[in-house]
Symmetry: C2
Subunit: 137 residues, 2 copies
Amino acid sequence: MTEIEKTLESKTVRPTAMRILIYKYMADKEIAVALTDIENAFAKADRTTLYRTLKTFEEKGIVHQIDDGTNISKYALCEPGCNCELEQDLHLHFHCGNCEETVCLTEQKIPHINLPDGYIAEDANLVIKGICEKCSG
Amino acid sequence: MTEIEKTLESKTVRPTAMRILIYKYMADKEIAVALTDIENAFAKADRTTLYRTLKTFEEKGIVHQIDDGTNISKYALCEPGCNCELEQDLHLHFHCGNCEETVCLTEQKIPHINLPDGYIAEDANLVIKGICEKCSG
DNA sequence: ATAAAAAATGCACTTCCGTTGCACTAATAT
DNA sequence: ATATTAGTGCAACGGAAGTGCATTTTTTAT
Ligand SMILES: [Mn+2]
Ligand SMILES: [Mn+2]
Ligand SMILES: [Zn+2]
Ligand SMILES: [Zn+2]
């Protein structure tokens, strides 16, 4: 049993062929991927399957969904041991206006914000737009 | 000439009847509005006109577009003298999971973030999700 | 005032992404 | 071996954003 299969099973996701391929695809990429990206990478698979795979991965805490402001949902593998729901694990995301790529900056946590009275924070999303390290070189 | 007409003209936007109505509608609301909201409020007007009015307002710095993570673009009037493009004027937005409303927290500026080497920030979007002051009461 | 030009509006249609229903197939449990 | 559950594929739908073009309204020039 491979490392990936073990990872999936540890999150109670059955390691089907398709799921292993998608996991591998995402692990090899250092950037967040859209459904369309996966669709293009696996042309013979049906979009619905890929879509539902991402949903399953998300529900089981294998990936987290990223809203980078492009109105296209992106996904990235969670770090080992990450708890995306918890405030302490909320990292920011960077979207490059040049290459259009979105990356997790997992080291950069979202700072705690003091809200006006009555407001209760449950989640936060911080996206920085600009030029990425690859494009600014 | 009314106050609103003067405001529009000062931003080089011709104060047509429709535009004045939309401006007034947004000024009366304390929350960010979607195109659909305006569409419902002015049922006899065509969606395209409303759509293009918002675009014009945005280009001329009368409103700013808000991406609150719902994948529905919201718009809110800019504060007098605000320069949304500048980092110093970037405020955060709050989206309530209960009433589904989005508000500008214009007092809460987005804190400056130190990015890894090579990353150049040009814009930022910070959305806090939770329960708003009206719903938490 | 009249005509020409420019701007705004309305209608129809398209595109894109996300999502769902249902049938079919593969895997698992009894 | 059979029943049950989980995964996949196909087809269609839906909402929201966006565009091309005809028509109307407003502005400008004559
Ligand atoms: Mn991330
Ligand atoms: Mn705002
Ligand atoms: Zn880049
Ligand atoms: Zn609320």
